[in-house]
Symmetry: C2
Subunit: 282 residues, 2 copies
Protein backbone atom coordinates (compact mmCIF):
# COMPACT_ATOMS: atom_id res chain seq x y z
CA UNK A 1 0.00 0.00 0.00
CA UNK A 2 1.27 3.44 -0.91
CA UNK A 3 0.98 6.28 1.58
CA UNK A 4 0.83 9.80 0.18
CA UNK A 5 1.35 12.83 2.38
CA UNK A 6 1.45 15.47 -0.33
CA UNK A 7 -1.31 16.67 -2.62
CA UNK A 8 1.09 16.74 -5.54
CA UNK A 9 2.22 13.13 -5.11
CA UNK A 10 -1.35 11.87 -4.65
CA UNK A 11 -2.52 13.74 -7.70
CA UNK A 12 0.36 12.53 -9.86
CA UNK A 13 -0.18 8.88 -8.90
CA UNK A 14 -3.92 8.86 -9.55
CA UNK A 15 -3.38 10.85 -12.76
CA UNK A 16 -1.11 8.14 -14.08
CA UNK A 17 -3.62 5.41 -13.21
CA UNK A 18 -6.47 7.37 -14.77
CA UNK A 19 -4.64 7.79 -18.05
CA UNK A 20 -4.15 4.01 -18.09
CA UNK A 21 -7.91 3.54 -17.79
CA UNK A 22 -7.84 2.28 -14.19
CA UNK A 23 -11.17 2.81 -12.40
CA UNK A 24 -10.41 4.64 -9.14
CA UNK A 25 -12.60 4.46 -6.03
CA UNK A 26 -12.21 6.96 -3.21
CA UNK A 27 -13.34 6.47 0.39
CA UNK A 28 -13.05 9.89 2.09
CA UNK A 29 -12.68 9.59 5.87
CA UNK A 30 -11.57 11.54 8.92
CA UNK A 31 -9.74 8.43 10.17
CA UNK A 32 -10.59 6.51 13.38
CA UNK A 33 -11.76 3.83 11.00
CA UNK A 34 -14.42 1.35 12.12
CA UNK A 35 -16.50 -1.41 10.53
CA UNK A 36 -18.61 1.22 8.75
CA UNK A 37 -15.55 2.49 6.89
CA UNK A 38 -14.47 -1.10 6.29
CA UNK A 39 -17.77 -1.75 4.53
CA UNK A 40 -17.15 1.26 2.28
CA UNK A 41 -13.63 0.04 1.47
CA UNK A 42 -14.96 -3.41 0.63
CA UNK A 43 -17.65 -1.94 -1.61
CA UNK A 44 -14.94 0.08 -3.35
CA UNK A 45 -12.77 -3.02 -3.85
CA UNK A 46 -15.71 -4.83 -5.45
CA UNK A 47 -16.41 -2.20 -8.09
CA UNK A 48 -13.10 -0.39 -8.67
CA UNK A 49 -9.62 -1.33 -9.89
CA UNK A 50 -7.80 0.87 -7.38
CA UNK A 51 -8.99 2.06 -3.97
CA UNK A 52 -7.81 5.28 -2.33
CA UNK A 53 -8.71 6.03 1.30
CA UNK A 54 -8.22 9.61 2.45
CA UNK A 55 -7.61 10.38 6.12
CA UNK A 56 -8.01 14.03 6.98
CA UNK A 57 -9.60 15.49 10.08
CA UNK A 58 -10.96 18.57 8.35
CA UNK A 59 -10.95 21.54 10.73
CA UNK A 60 -13.36 23.50 8.53
CA UNK A 61 -16.28 21.16 9.10
CA UNK A 62 -16.13 21.49 12.89
CA UNK A 63 -17.88 24.43 14.50
CA UNK A 64 -16.47 26.50 17.35
CA UNK A 65 -16.86 24.47 20.54
CA UNK A 66 -17.16 21.18 18.66
CA UNK A 67 -14.83 18.23 19.12
CA UNK A 68 -12.09 18.98 16.54
CA UNK A 69 -9.27 18.95 19.09
CA UNK A 70 -10.33 15.69 20.75
CA UNK A 71 -11.58 13.92 17.59
CA UNK A 72 -9.85 10.49 17.69
CA UNK A 73 -6.62 10.30 15.66
CA UNK A 74 -4.86 6.95 15.23
CA UNK A 75 -3.25 6.83 11.88
CA UNK A 76 -1.24 3.65 12.58
CA UNK A 77 -4.29 1.57 13.33
CA UNK A 78 -6.07 3.15 10.36
CA UNK A 79 -3.16 2.31 8.04
CA UNK A 80 -3.11 -1.26 9.34
CA UNK A 81 -6.83 -1.68 8.66
CA UNK A 82 -6.40 -0.28 5.15
CA UNK A 83 -3.49 -2.61 4.44
CA UNK A 84 -5.50 -5.64 5.56
CA UNK A 85 -8.41 -4.55 3.38
CA UNK A 86 -6.23 -4.29 0.29
CA UNK A 87 -6.37 -0.51 -0.08
CA UNK A 88 -3.99 0.66 -2.81
CA UNK A 89 -3.27 4.15 -1.55
CA UNK A 90 -3.70 6.03 1.70
CA UNK A 91 -3.86 9.82 1.34
CA UNK A 92 -3.07 11.53 4.65
CA UNK A 93 -2.09 15.11 3.85
CA UNK A 94 -0.99 17.64 6.45
CA UNK A 95 -3.32 20.55 7.07
CA UNK A 96 -0.99 23.12 5.45
CA UNK A 97 -1.00 21.17 2.17
CA UNK A 98 -4.80 21.20 2.01
CA UNK A 99 -5.20 24.77 3.30
CA UNK A 100 -2.00 26.61 2.39
CA UNK A 101 -1.36 30.20 3.49
CA UNK A 102 -3.84 32.52 1.81
CA UNK A 103 -6.48 29.81 1.25
CA UNK A 104 -9.83 31.61 0.93
CA UNK A 105 -12.15 29.59 -1.30
CA UNK A 106 -15.39 27.94 -0.22
CA UNK A 107 -17.97 25.83 -1.94
CA UNK A 108 -21.56 25.90 -0.71
CA UNK A 109 -24.64 23.86 -1.62
CA UNK A 110 -27.36 26.18 -0.48
CA UNK A 111 -30.87 24.78 0.03
CA UNK A 112 -29.95 21.21 0.96
CA UNK A 113 -27.45 22.45 3.58
CA UNK A 114 -29.91 24.71 5.35
CA UNK A 115 -31.89 22.37 7.60
CA UNK A 116 -31.05 19.64 10.14
CA UNK A 117 -27.28 19.21 10.47
CA UNK A 118 -26.78 22.51 8.63
CA UNK A 119 -28.95 24.36 11.14
CA UNK A 120 -27.45 22.56 14.15
CA UNK A 121 -23.86 23.01 12.95
CA UNK A 122 -23.40 26.36 11.14
CA UNK A 123 -20.63 26.16 8.56
CA UNK A 124 -20.44 22.36 8.76
CA UNK A 125 -21.59 21.61 5.22
CA UNK A 126 -19.56 24.45 3.77
CA UNK A 127 -16.53 22.72 5.28
CA UNK A 128 -17.62 19.29 4.06
CA UNK A 129 -18.44 20.43 0.54
CA UNK A 130 -15.18 22.36 0.19
CA UNK A 131 -12.99 19.46 1.33
CA UNK A 132 -14.94 16.95 -0.79
CA UNK A 133 -14.49 19.18 -3.84
CA UNK A 134 -10.75 19.32 -3.16
CA UNK A 135 -10.45 15.56 -2.59
CA UNK A 136 -12.30 14.99 -5.86
CA UNK A 137 -10.09 17.37 -7.84
CA UNK A 138 -6.90 15.98 -6.25
CA UNK A 139 -7.70 12.26 -6.58
CA UNK A 140 -10.16 12.50 -9.52
CA UNK A 141 -11.91 9.25 -8.61
CA UNK A 142 -14.51 7.58 -10.81
CA UNK A 143 -16.58 6.64 -7.78
CA UNK A 144 -16.64 7.91 -4.20
CA UNK A 145 -18.17 5.97 -1.32
CA UNK A 146 -20.20 7.54 1.48
CA UNK A 147 -22.14 5.99 4.35
CA UNK A 148 -25.88 6.39 4.56
CA UNK A 149 -25.50 7.26 8.24
CA UNK A 150 -24.66 10.80 7.15
CA UNK A 151 -27.70 10.95 4.89
CA UNK A 152 -27.86 14.71 4.45
CA UNK A 153 -24.13 14.79 3.66
CA UNK A 154 -24.64 12.18 0.93
CA UNK A 155 -27.53 14.15 -0.60
CA UNK A 156 -25.53 17.39 -0.45
CA UNK A 157 -22.48 15.75 -2.06
CA UNK A 158 -24.59 14.28 -4.86
CA UNK A 159 -25.95 17.75 -5.59
CA UNK A 160 -22.42 19.21 -5.46
CA UNK A 161 -21.18 16.71 -8.03
CA UNK A 162 -24.05 17.41 -10.37
CA UNK A 163 -23.90 21.20 -9.99
CA UNK A 164 -20.14 21.48 -10.46
CA UNK A 165 -19.86 18.75 -13.11
CA UNK A 166 -17.30 16.89 -11.02
CA UNK A 167 -17.84 13.64 -12.88
CA UNK A 168 -17.71 11.40 -9.81
CA UNK A 169 -20.35 8.73 -9.13
CA UNK A 170 -21.50 8.85 -5.51
CA UNK A 171 -22.15 5.39 -4.06
CA UNK A 172 -24.10 5.39 -0.80
CA UNK A 173 -23.62 2.35 1.41
CA UNK A 174 -26.15 1.22 4.04
CA UNK A 175 -25.36 2.14 7.64
CA UNK A 176 -23.41 -0.46 9.57
CA UNK A 177 -24.81 -1.02 13.09
CA UNK A 178 -23.97 -2.60 16.42
CA UNK A 179 -26.09 -5.68 17.27
CA UNK A 180 -28.48 -3.47 19.27
CA UNK A 181 -28.99 -1.11 16.33
CA UNK A 182 -26.66 1.78 17.24
CA UNK A 183 -25.13 3.18 14.06
CA UNK A 184 -21.34 2.92 14.05
CA UNK A 185 -19.61 6.25 14.51
CA UNK A 186 -16.16 7.36 15.57
CA UNK A 187 -17.91 9.39 18.24
CA UNK A 188 -19.51 6.35 19.94
CA UNK A 189 -16.28 5.78 21.87
CA UNK A 190 -16.95 9.00 23.81
CA UNK A 191 -19.99 7.33 25.43
CA UNK A 192 -19.83 6.01 28.99
CA UNK A 193 -21.30 2.50 29.46
CA UNK A 194 -24.55 4.03 30.75
CA UNK A 195 -24.70 6.50 27.88
CA UNK A 196 -23.88 3.69 25.46
CA UNK A 197 -26.99 1.78 26.61
CA UNK A 198 -29.10 4.93 26.32
CA UNK A 199 -27.77 5.68 22.82
CA UNK A 200 -29.87 2.97 21.16
CA UNK A 201 -32.92 5.16 21.74
CA UNK A 202 -32.29 6.95 18.43
CA UNK A 203 -32.39 3.71 16.46
CA UNK A 204 -35.41 2.60 18.44
CA UNK A 205 -37.24 5.85 17.66
CA UNK A 206 -36.53 5.46 13.95
CA UNK A 207 -37.85 1.89 14.14
CA UNK A 208 -41.03 3.16 15.82
CA UNK A 209 -41.44 5.65 12.98
CA UNK A 210 -40.87 3.01 10.30
CA UNK A 211 -43.33 0.61 11.94
CA UNK A 212 -46.07 3.23 12.11
CA UNK A 213 -45.62 4.10 8.42
CA UNK A 214 -45.66 0.43 7.49
CA UNK A 215 -48.83 0.09 9.53
CA UNK A 216 -50.45 2.80 7.38
CA UNK A 217 -49.75 6.07 9.17
CA UNK A 218 -49.63 8.85 6.54
CA UNK A 219 -49.23 11.98 8.66
CA UNK A 220 -45.63 13.19 8.86
CA UNK A 221 -46.48 15.11 12.02
CA UNK A 222 -47.88 12.00 13.76
CA UNK A 223 -44.84 9.90 12.86
CA UNK A 224 -42.57 12.64 14.14
CA UNK A 225 -44.48 12.78 17.42
CA UNK A 226 -44.19 9.01 17.88
CA UNK A 227 -40.43 9.26 17.45
CA UNK A 228 -40.23 12.18 19.88
CA UNK A 229 -42.20 10.21 22.47
CA UNK A 230 -39.81 7.30 22.17
CA UNK A 231 -36.76 9.53 22.67
CA UNK A 232 -38.57 11.20 25.58
CA UNK A 233 -38.67 7.85 27.38
CA UNK A 234 -34.86 7.86 27.72
CA UNK A 235 -33.85 10.25 30.53
CA UNK A 236 -30.23 10.53 29.29
CA UNK A 237 -31.27 11.57 25.75
CA UNK A 238 -32.46 14.89 24.42
CA UNK A 239 -33.79 15.07 20.85
CA UNK A 240 -32.06 17.68 18.71
CA UNK A 241 -34.41 17.05 15.79
CA UNK A 242 -36.59 14.21 14.54
CA UNK A 243 -38.07 14.68 11.10
CA UNK A 244 -40.02 12.99 8.32
CA UNK A 245 -38.61 14.23 5.01
CA UNK A 246 -38.54 13.94 1.26
CA UNK A 247 -35.30 12.04 0.58
CA UNK A 248 -34.39 14.26 -2.37
CA UNK A 249 -35.17 17.73 -1.03
CA UNK A 250 -34.89 16.95 2.72
CA UNK A 251 -37.96 19.14 3.28
CA UNK A 252 -40.48 17.88 5.88
CA UNK A 253 -43.35 15.86 4.45
CA UNK A 254 -46.89 16.48 5.68
CA UNK A 255 -48.59 13.65 3.84
CA UNK A 256 -46.50 10.49 3.37
CA UNK A 257 -46.96 9.08 -0.14
CA UNK A 258 -43.90 7.56 -1.72
CA UNK A 259 -40.30 7.54 -0.50
CA UNK A 260 -39.53 9.08 2.85
CA UNK A 261 -36.49 9.43 5.06
CA UNK A 262 -36.68 9.68 8.82
CA UNK A 263 -33.86 11.86 10.14
CA UNK A 264 -32.82 12.11 13.75
CA UNK A 265 -30.20 13.71 15.97
CA UNK A 266 -30.02 13.28 19.74
CA UNK A 267 -27.70 14.47 22.45
CA UNK A 268 -26.51 12.11 25.15
CA UNK A 269 -24.62 14.31 27.58
CA UNK A 270 -22.10 16.26 25.48
CA UNK A 271 -22.22 13.71 22.67
CA UNK A 272 -24.34 14.27 19.60
CA UNK A 273 -25.44 11.28 17.53
CA UNK A 274 -27.28 11.14 14.21
CA UNK A 275 -29.05 8.37 12.32
CA UNK A 276 -31.74 7.89 9.70
CA UNK A 277 -34.03 5.38 8.06
CA UNK A 278 -34.97 5.37 4.40
CA UNK A 279 -38.35 3.92 3.43
CA UNK A 280 -39.42 3.21 -0.14
CA UNK A 281 -37.36 3.68 -3.24
CA UNK A 282 -34.83 6.51 -3.22
CA UNK B 1 -14.65 23.58 -36.11
CA UNK B 2 -16.96 21.62 -33.83
CA UNK B 3 -19.81 23.36 -32.07
CA UNK B 4 -21.02 21.81 -28.81
CA UNK B 5 -24.33 22.81 -27.27
CA UNK B 6 -24.44 20.24 -24.50
CA UNK B 7 -22.23 19.85 -21.44
CA UNK B 8 -22.11 16.11 -21.95
CA UNK B 9 -20.90 16.32 -25.56
CA UNK B 10 -18.28 18.95 -24.74
CA UNK B 11 -17.03 16.95 -21.80
CA UNK B 12 -16.84 13.71 -23.79
CA UNK B 13 -14.90 15.34 -26.65
CA UNK B 14 -12.31 17.02 -24.44
CA UNK B 15 -12.03 13.86 -22.33
CA UNK B 16 -11.06 11.86 -25.39
CA UNK B 17 -8.44 14.43 -26.43
CA UNK B 18 -7.04 14.57 -22.90
CA UNK B 19 -6.58 10.81 -22.73
CA UNK B 20 -4.62 11.07 -26.00
CA UNK B 21 -2.28 13.59 -24.38
CA UNK B 22 -3.56 16.58 -26.35
CA UNK B 23 -2.87 19.89 -24.58
CA UNK B 24 -6.18 21.78 -24.37
CA UNK B 25 -6.48 25.56 -24.13
CA UNK B 26 -9.74 27.22 -23.07
CA UNK B 27 -10.75 30.81 -23.78
CA UNK B 28 -13.85 31.49 -21.66
CA UNK B 29 -15.96 34.33 -23.07
CA UNK B 30 -19.45 35.81 -22.92
CA UNK B 31 -19.41 36.21 -26.72
CA UNK B 32 -19.54 39.52 -28.60
CA UNK B 33 -15.95 38.71 -29.49
CA UNK B 34 -13.53 41.53 -30.31
CA UNK B 35 -9.81 41.88 -30.96
CA UNK B 36 -9.10 41.33 -27.25
CA UNK B 37 -10.65 37.87 -27.44
CA UNK B 38 -8.85 37.26 -30.72
CA UNK B 39 -5.53 37.93 -29.00
CA UNK B 40 -6.45 35.32 -26.34
CA UNK B 41 -7.38 32.79 -29.02
CA UNK B 42 -4.09 33.40 -30.84
CA UNK B 43 -2.13 33.00 -27.61
CA UNK B 44 -3.98 29.72 -27.02
CA UNK B 45 -3.18 28.48 -30.53
CA UNK B 46 0.50 29.20 -29.97
CA UNK B 47 0.83 27.15 -26.81
CA UNK B 48 -1.88 24.47 -27.02
CA UNK B 49 -2.74 21.59 -29.36
CA UNK B 50 -6.48 22.19 -29.26
CA UNK B 51 -8.36 25.42 -28.55
CA UNK B 52 -11.84 25.57 -27.04
CA UNK B 53 -13.75 28.86 -26.90
CA UNK B 54 -16.77 28.97 -24.61
CA UNK B 55 -19.60 31.43 -25.28
CA UNK B 56 -21.96 31.81 -22.36
CA UNK B 57 -23.59 35.00 -21.14
CA UNK B 58 -23.61 33.99 -17.51
CA UNK B 59 -26.67 35.44 -15.75
CA UNK B 60 -25.16 34.82 -12.31
CA UNK B 61 -22.37 37.34 -12.71
CA UNK B 62 -24.73 40.21 -13.51
CA UNK B 63 -26.30 42.11 -10.64
CA UNK B 64 -29.93 43.24 -10.47
CA UNK B 65 -30.27 46.29 -12.72
CA UNK B 66 -27.13 45.44 -14.67
CA UNK B 67 -27.02 44.86 -18.44
CA UNK B 68 -27.67 41.11 -18.66
CA UNK B 69 -30.74 41.47 -20.89
CA UNK B 70 -29.13 43.88 -23.33
CA UNK B 71 -25.63 42.37 -23.25
CA UNK B 72 -24.68 41.94 -26.95
CA UNK B 73 -25.37 38.44 -28.35
CA UNK B 74 -24.23 37.56 -31.87
CA UNK B 75 -23.27 33.96 -31.98
CA UNK B 76 -22.99 33.79 -35.79
CA UNK B 77 -20.35 36.51 -35.97
CA UNK B 78 -18.59 34.95 -32.97
CA UNK B 79 -18.56 31.51 -34.63
CA UNK B 80 -17.21 33.04 -37.84
CA UNK B 81 -14.37 34.73 -35.97
CA UNK B 82 -13.52 31.49 -34.17
CA UNK B 83 -13.49 29.56 -37.45
CA UNK B 84 -11.14 32.07 -39.07
CA UNK B 85 -8.85 31.89 -36.03
CA UNK B 86 -8.61 28.10 -36.21
CA UNK B 87 -10.54 27.34 -33.03
CA UNK B 88 -11.15 23.60 -32.68
CA UNK B 89 -14.33 23.68 -30.63
CA UNK B 90 -16.95 26.23 -29.74
CA UNK B 91 -18.87 25.51 -26.54
CA UNK B 92 -22.16 27.42 -26.46
CA UNK B 93 -24.40 25.69 -23.93
CA UNK B 94 -27.97 26.75 -23.20
CA UNK B 95 -28.61 28.19 -19.76
CA UNK B 96 -30.62 25.15 -18.59
CA UNK B 97 -27.68 22.84 -19.26
CA UNK B 98 -25.33 24.94 -17.13
CA UNK B 99 -27.90 25.68 -14.41
CA UNK B 100 -30.39 22.80 -14.45
CA UNK B 101 -33.47 22.79 -12.24
CA UNK B 102 -32.44 22.58 -8.60
CA UNK B 103 -28.99 24.06 -9.18
CA UNK B 104 -27.85 25.52 -5.85
CA UNK B 105 -24.06 25.40 -5.59
CA UNK B 106 -21.77 28.41 -5.40
CA UNK B 107 -18.04 28.86 -5.23
CA UNK B 108 -16.61 31.93 -3.53
CA UNK B 109 -13.08 33.32 -3.23
CA UNK B 110 -13.45 35.51 -0.20
CA UNK B 111 -10.80 38.18 0.47
CA UNK B 112 -9.78 38.89 -3.12
CA UNK B 113 -13.43 39.32 -4.16
CA UNK B 114 -14.25 41.84 -1.48
CA UNK B 115 -12.96 45.15 -2.84
CA UNK B 116 -13.26 47.07 -6.14
CA UNK B 117 -15.43 45.17 -8.61
CA UNK B 118 -16.65 42.94 -5.78
CA UNK B 119 -17.82 45.95 -3.76
CA UNK B 120 -19.31 47.71 -6.80
CA UNK B 121 -21.06 44.58 -8.08
CA UNK B 122 -22.28 42.38 -5.19
CA UNK B 123 -22.40 38.72 -6.22
CA UNK B 124 -20.40 39.34 -9.39
CA UNK B 125 -17.33 37.31 -8.46
CA UNK B 126 -19.41 34.54 -6.93
CA UNK B 127 -21.03 34.23 -10.36
CA UNK B 128 -17.70 34.39 -12.18
CA UNK B 129 -15.96 31.90 -9.92
CA UNK B 130 -18.84 29.42 -10.06
CA UNK B 131 -19.06 29.46 -13.87
CA UNK B 132 -15.29 29.29 -14.26
CA UNK B 133 -15.18 26.28 -11.94
CA UNK B 134 -17.86 24.60 -14.05
CA UNK B 135 -16.15 25.42 -17.36
CA UNK B 136 -12.92 23.98 -15.96
CA UNK B 137 -14.55 20.76 -14.75
CA UNK B 138 -16.51 20.35 -18.01
CA UNK B 139 -13.67 21.11 -20.46
CA UNK B 140 -10.73 20.19 -18.15
CA UNK B 141 -8.29 22.40 -20.01
CA UNK B 142 -4.55 22.43 -19.36
CA UNK B 143 -4.42 26.21 -19.76
CA UNK B 144 -7.11 28.90 -19.65
CA UNK B 145 -6.63 32.38 -21.09
CA UNK B 146 -7.89 35.57 -19.47
CA UNK B 147 -7.39 39.20 -20.39
CA UNK B 148 -5.50 41.52 -18.09
CA UNK B 149 -8.27 44.10 -18.54
CA UNK B 150 -10.24 42.23 -15.88
CA UNK B 151 -7.27 42.20 -13.53
CA UNK B 152 -9.15 41.39 -10.34
CA UNK B 153 -10.96 38.55 -12.10
CA UNK B 154 -7.64 37.08 -13.20
CA UNK B 155 -6.23 37.26 -9.66
CA UNK B 156 -9.40 35.72 -8.21
CA UNK B 157 -9.38 32.88 -10.76
CA UNK B 158 -5.72 32.11 -10.06
CA UNK B 159 -6.55 31.82 -6.36
CA UNK B 160 -9.58 29.63 -7.15
CA UNK B 161 -7.45 27.22 -9.16
CA UNK B 162 -4.84 26.95 -6.43
CA UNK B 163 -7.36 26.60 -3.59
CA UNK B 164 -9.53 23.97 -5.30
CA UNK B 165 -6.64 22.10 -6.96
CA UNK B 166 -8.22 22.54 -10.36
CA UNK B 167 -4.95 21.84 -12.19
CA UNK B 168 -5.42 24.54 -14.84
CA UNK B 169 -2.67 27.02 -15.70
CA UNK B 170 -4.03 30.57 -15.91
CA UNK B 171 -2.42 32.63 -18.68
CA UNK B 172 -3.06 36.38 -18.46
CA UNK B 173 -2.77 38.28 -21.71
CA UNK B 174 -2.04 42.05 -21.92
CA UNK B 175 -5.02 44.29 -22.54
CA UNK B 176 -5.73 45.07 -26.19
CA UNK B 177 -6.50 48.77 -26.78
CA UNK B 178 -7.89 51.14 -29.36
CA UNK B 179 -5.29 53.50 -30.88
CA UNK B 180 -6.28 56.18 -28.34
CA UNK B 181 -5.74 53.82 -25.41
CA UNK B 182 -9.32 52.77 -24.61
CA UNK B 183 -9.31 49.12 -23.49
CA UNK B 184 -11.39 46.90 -25.78
CA UNK B 185 -14.63 45.77 -24.18
CA UNK B 186 -17.91 44.41 -25.46
CA UNK B 187 -19.52 47.27 -23.55
CA UNK B 188 -17.73 50.01 -25.55
CA UNK B 189 -20.38 49.71 -28.26
CA UNK B 190 -22.96 51.15 -25.84
CA UNK B 191 -21.06 54.50 -25.94
CA UNK B 192 -22.36 57.43 -28.02
CA UNK B 193 -19.67 59.19 -30.13
CA UNK B 194 -19.32 61.90 -27.49
CA UNK B 195 -19.11 59.37 -24.68
CA UNK B 196 -16.61 57.37 -26.73
CA UNK B 197 -14.29 60.39 -26.86
CA UNK B 198 -14.71 60.95 -23.11
CA UNK B 199 -14.03 57.27 -22.34
CA UNK B 200 -10.27 57.59 -22.92
CA UNK B 201 -10.06 59.52 -19.67
CA UNK B 202 -9.64 56.26 -17.73
CA UNK B 203 -6.60 55.21 -19.75
CA UNK B 204 -5.24 58.75 -19.49
CA UNK B 205 -5.64 58.75 -15.71
CA UNK B 206 -3.78 55.43 -15.44
CA UNK B 207 -1.00 56.89 -17.61
CA UNK B 208 -0.78 59.91 -15.32
CA UNK B 209 -0.46 57.53 -12.36
CA UNK B 210 2.26 55.47 -14.09
CA UNK B 211 4.20 58.56 -15.09
CA UNK B 212 4.20 59.92 -11.55
CA UNK B 213 5.46 56.61 -10.14
CA UNK B 214 8.14 56.42 -12.80
CA UNK B 215 9.12 59.99 -11.86
CA UNK B 216 9.69 58.81 -8.28
CA UNK B 217 6.37 59.34 -6.51
CA UNK B 218 6.12 56.78 -3.69
CA UNK B 219 2.87 57.80 -1.97
CA UNK B 220 -0.10 55.63 -3.02
CA UNK B 221 -2.46 58.36 -1.86
CA UNK B 222 -0.77 61.03 -4.01
CA UNK B 223 -0.85 58.82 -7.11
CA UNK B 224 -4.50 58.09 -6.48
CA UNK B 225 -5.27 61.80 -6.18
CA UNK B 226 -3.47 62.56 -9.46
CA UNK B 227 -5.62 59.95 -11.20
CA UNK B 228 -8.78 61.34 -9.59
CA UNK B 229 -7.89 64.83 -10.77
CA UNK B 230 -7.44 63.62 -14.32
CA UNK B 231 -10.85 61.90 -14.33
CA UNK B 232 -12.33 65.05 -12.78
CA UNK B 233 -11.30 67.03 -15.86
CA UNK B 234 -13.76 65.05 -18.01
CA UNK B 235 -17.31 66.31 -17.37
CA UNK B 236 -18.95 63.16 -18.79
CA UNK B 237 -16.99 60.82 -16.49
CA UNK B 238 -17.47 59.95 -12.85
CA UNK B 239 -14.84 57.89 -11.05
CA UNK B 240 -16.21 54.79 -9.36
CA UNK B 241 -12.85 53.93 -7.81
CA UNK B 242 -9.20 54.64 -8.59
CA UNK B 243 -6.69 52.71 -6.51
CA UNK B 244 -3.03 51.91 -6.07
CA UNK B 245 -2.77 48.27 -5.00
CA UNK B 246 -0.58 45.29 -4.30
CA UNK B 247 -1.02 43.10 -7.42
CA UNK B 248 -1.23 39.89 -5.35
CA UNK B 249 -3.53 40.92 -2.51
CA UNK B 250 -5.31 43.85 -4.27
CA UNK B 251 -5.08 45.79 -1.00
CA UNK B 252 -4.27 49.53 -1.30
CA UNK B 253 -0.59 50.39 -0.98
CA UNK B 254 0.49 53.38 1.13
CA UNK B 255 4.18 53.34 0.28
CA UNK B 256 5.03 52.19 -3.24
CA UNK B 257 8.06 49.88 -3.20
CA UNK B 258 7.99 47.04 -5.70
CA UNK B 259 5.21 45.88 -7.99
CA UNK B 260 1.99 47.85 -8.04
CA UNK B 261 -1.24 47.75 -9.99
CA UNK B 262 -3.35 50.83 -10.66
CA UNK B 263 -7.02 49.89 -10.80
CA UNK B 264 -9.77 52.11 -12.11
CA UNK B 265 -13.50 52.10 -12.84
CA UNK B 266 -15.43 55.05 -14.26
CA UNK B 267 -18.99 55.66 -15.26
CA UNK B 268 -19.79 57.46 -18.50
CA UNK B 269 -23.56 57.96 -18.43
CA UNK B 270 -25.02 54.52 -17.67
CA UNK B 271 -21.92 52.71 -18.91
CA UNK B 272 -19.30 51.46 -16.51
CA UNK B 273 -15.76 50.88 -17.77
CA UNK B 274 -12.75 49.35 -16.02
CA UNK B 275 -9.06 49.29 -16.77
CA UNK B 276 -5.72 48.87 -15.00
CA UNK B 277 -1.99 49.29 -15.33
CA UNK B 278 0.61 46.94 -13.89
CA UNK B 279 3.99 48.39 -12.95
CA UNK B 280 7.03 46.31 -12.00
CA UNK B 281 7.20 42.54 -11.93
CA UNK B 282 4.02 40.65 -11.08
Amino acid sequence: MRVFRSVRAMSAWSGTLRREGVVIGLVPTMGALHAGHRALIRAARLSCDAVVVSLFVNPRQFGAGEDFARYPRRIRADAALCRVEGVDALFAPPRRDIYPAGFQTSVVVRDLSRRWEGAARPGHFEGVVTIVTKLFTIVRPDVAFFGQKDFQQAVVVRRLVEDLNLGVRIAIHPTVREPDGLALSSRNQYLSPRQRRAATVLYDALQVGCASIQAGQRSGERVKRLMQERVGQEPLARADYLAVCDPRTLEPIERIARAVVLLGAVRIGRIRLIDNALIGKR
